[in-house]
Amino acid sequence: MKKYALNDITLLQYIMINFGMAVSFGFIELPAMMATEAGTDGWIPILIGGFVTMFASLVVIRLMQRFPEGTFFDMLAHYLGKWAGKTAALAFALYFLLYAYDGLIYTIRLIKGRLLPETPAFLIALMLMLPTYTIARNGLRIVGRYAEFAVMISLWIPFVYLYTLENLHPLYLLPVFKEGWKPILSAVPGTFFYYLGFVSSVILYPFLKHKKHASAGLVIANGITVLSYLFITLVCYMFLSPDEAKLIHQPSIYVLKSIELSFIEQVEGLFIAFYAFIFSLSWIPPLYFTVFCTSWMMGKQEHRPHLRVIVILFAVSTYFYLPTYDELENISQLLGVSGIAVEYLFPGIMLVFLWIYVRLRKGRNWT
């Protein structure tokens, strides 16, 4: 029954895939977004959202523990029949495709806006898609190793923010709870979008080498995400005056612009170029999951033909159409809504449903 054992991933790879998918552009966008909703208290909803996400990701693990040797689709096929599995696989394929597209377009927009304004978007897309294909075609273990690598070589990022220390004004953070709990709580749902990705466990779980650590792994991944978000929002809110924080787009980059080193100019350019590694985690694993779903649906072992089609489609589509920033926002909103449905609600519903279903069926067998 161990059909996924060949491509198993370690716990660290599991953590890094989850962390990378979640953190990617939240690190850049979250501070400004939280500032408009909750002012300088914007770091509190992040914390609350993080706890909710931890709970939701544990639900996913609970769900997967019912059928540890297969993916969620295998489980559905086992309990409810082949077509239930295929429908779910299609839904997840579409979801991950949207996830990857959003991540890719965001990255292209950012690179185009900040680094290469005059380079055509499709060239940037092509440059990003070539390594994507070479990584994703080799299967999950390589994707996992890549995630590990991408996070490891980005570990310098928190340290570069130390250079902004002299420009930080801790007084801006005070008082905590400026406007009470109301804006803080109403900002919490907005954070969910930036925590999305943990539902990938429905595919990853059977690949995991040590399944008993899965819950711990997800909690750790989520914990690092929360810490990185907290870190960057606190830095931004101490750097920008309270009313300014609502005006500046991508404050994480704006803060880096204050750094002056004698040997390099425009540190933020270097940051964006290197951060592309982390960005890539917002589309390489989801793309792999997409083709995993589609090839599972078709009952095929080989996922490369599908991957080729999608990678080429992505690259070609940017030649004809690149969403503007507000269209991108609409895509993100769509992803956010479907993400809350797919990641936060669906696993819980499925868990309850399967529990009742199994009870009923057992009951029927007894009579």
Partner: protein
């Protein structure tokens, strides 16, 4: 992998690498004209004039810089117009210094909109220093003394040395933006003038709307930095009370340097009035005394006299701020942090509220070192 396999792959990869070259906007140093100093001024009709100073690397050029003056409706349009005059492609990305004329700050409404281009265009620098020039900018851009380096180096050098003595503030574009947008603070900028030679001995204070409001002397700027807590080394030369001077006719002046100065600011509120308690702890080293005194015996009196003098100067400075309705220290930031509910009601007229506030200043000068002679 077989040899043909490798060859086939190479055939696919090589055309790709030739086709995909990312840098469409590549620019070689030789072809660029880097504007290192940008000047913004207004003419009599109130139109914007944009000045720029570009270093010329060409060895055949006699002069080391090239100055461009254009009249335009915005800095960005000025850049396009300047491009027509410059030898290479005109580039503002290495901008070191932005010089704004005092006249523009005084008379041009919403001049700070001109800064928008630096923040909206993601590739523009935001760490360029902003300086205020007291006079017509054409004098400055025509000033080429044979014994001085080019303008950007002069300005940066001057700013750095003045800053190292804490005699003015250093404000980057980014900091200016922060101060302009912070309701609990008003901006401050270094101010210089051309008087035979360039001299930077003033600090310009802008009001809530970003308009020029007043200037500080070097001494006042030092006290401002002390209150802002962003410098801790100061050099003071102050008068002491006459009764400490035993010899008639001697100058009653002494100098000291202070390291590790600590400032504490506490805010409280009684009704609609803020009250600030400022405590300055200042260990000093005597560096000069112009009158005979036995420092060892009269240590306590000397410390008290210095404390009183610094305190007097601080109080005078704060009441000057209050009179002019300026808060370059950012007392409003303290008010927001401690008395948020009330501050929020008054934040849009904070400077008026600040003018009503009560200040209680305490200075504790400690003689840490009396120098190498009695």
């Amino acid at each position: 992998m077989s040899v043909t396999g490798i060859l086939r792959r190479a055939l696919i990869v090589i055309p790709f690498t030739l086709l995909i070259s990312g840098c469409y906007d590549r620019l070689d140093m030789e072809e660029a004209s880097f504007s290192l100093v940008l000047g913004l001024d207004r003419d009599e009709q109130g139109n914007l004039i944009v000045y720029s100073s570009i270093p010329t690397f060409n060895q055949h050029a006699k002069k080391k810089t090239h100055e461009i003056v254009v009249s335009s409706i915005s800095p960005r349009e000025g850049r396009l117009k300047s491009d027509a005059y410059s030898v290479g492609s005109f580039q503002p990305r290495k901008l070191q210094v932005l010089v704004v004329s005092k006249a523009l700050l005084l008379h041009k409404k919403e001049w700070d909109r001109y800064l928008d281009v630096f923040f909206r265009d993601g590739r523009n620098p935001v760490t360029s220093r902003v300086l205020v020039y007291d006079g017509k900018l054409n004098e400055l851009f025509d000033y080429h003394p044979p014994d001085k380096p080019i303008l950007p180096l002069q300005l940066l050098g001057m700013l750095e040395s003045t800053d190292s003595r804490a005699e003015t503030v250093v404000t980057t574009l980014q900091q200016l933006q922060r101060e302009l947008l912070d309701k609990g603070q008003t901006p401050a900028l270094p101010q210089f003038a051309l008087d035979q030679e360039l001299k930077l001995n003033r600090t310009a204070l802008l009001d809530r709307d970003g308009r020029y409001a007043a200037s500080l002397t070097s001494k006042e700027a030092m006290l401002l930095r002390l209150l802002q807590k962003n410098a801790d080394k100061f050099r003071f030369t102050i008068p002491v009370p006459k009764h400490l001077v035993e010899e008639p006719g001697a100058a009653n002046v002494l100098s000291f340097s202070a390291d590790q100065t600590k400032t504490k600011i506490k805010v409280s509120r009684k009704g609609d009035k803020f009250r600030y308690d400022i405590y300055v702890h200042m260990p000093v080293n005597l560096t000069e005394i112009l009158f005979p005194i036995d420092v060892v015996v009269e240590k306590a009196e000397l410390e008290a006299a210095c404390s009183a003098e610094i305190r007097k100067q601080l109080e005078a400075l704060i009441s000057k701020f209050q009179q002019k309705r300026l808060d370059p220290v950012g007392f409003g930031v303290y008010a927001r942090a401690r008395e948020y509910g009330y501050f929020k009601q008054v934040q849009d007229r904070w400077v008026d509220e600040f003018a009503k506030a009560e200040f209680n200043v305490k200075v504790n000068v400690v003689l840490a070192d009396i120098g190498a002679i009695e």
